[in-house]
Symmetry: C2
Subunit: 114 residues, 2 copies
């Protein structure tokens, strides 16, 4: 067994977000996806993002306002959202006080040239 | 985008646990893993489990005492643990009051006959 302690993870600042990429755990190809935690400060949001990878995310704490396809869906802590490859999205933290923390797994779709 | 609302998920009772398997979302082979949420009541634990799949789990709420390999590691909400295929494990909720909720992704290792 290995434990990955979020509080001890090394983080990068990307725009206004803190991103803890799992490459730091040197898991090689043990997982069939890449992974990260990211956090969005209260009252803030991510830059518009779009990437070929499919992304499955789980809200760890706070509430995530996921803007995609012209709507915003609010996703509560413990719940999850799935973005298609190349689906443009913005992650909003509309709380004035609560940090938003999200775990994301992402992978290139089978059959893709990406 | 699709949203998977944990509070609205259909659950089965397996032993003393509530298990919400993601097969209910009919995602086919869109994810390179299977997935579930499970919850362990306060002061309780799972049965001893062992399966060929590798399992990556994220603690959603509460604290998980993961017994494997003769030790118990306490994994806080937001943190993660990785179990090898065929690694026997028990999940303890040692809190008297807090429910424990875990998200697990699991997949058969590449090259396995399983």
């Amino acid at each position: 067994m290995r434990v990955f302690d979020r509080a001890a993870a090394g983080v990068d600042r990307v725009g206004g977000l803190e991103v803890a990429r799992w490459e730091q755990y040197a898991l090689g190809d043990r997982l069939p996806f890449r992974a990260m935690w990211f956090s969005v400060p209260p009252g803030s949001r991510s830059a518009l993002d779009r990437h070929p990878e499919i992304e499955l995310s789980l809200v760890v704490s706070g509430s995530a306002g996921i803007e995609a396809g012209g709507t915003v869906a609010e996703v509560a802590a413990g719940s999850s959202y799935l973005l298609d490859g190349d689906e443009a999205h913005v992650v909003h933290n509309r709380s004035a006080t609560e940090p938003l923390v999200v775990f994301s797994a992402y992978w290139t779709p089978v059959g893709s040239d990406a």
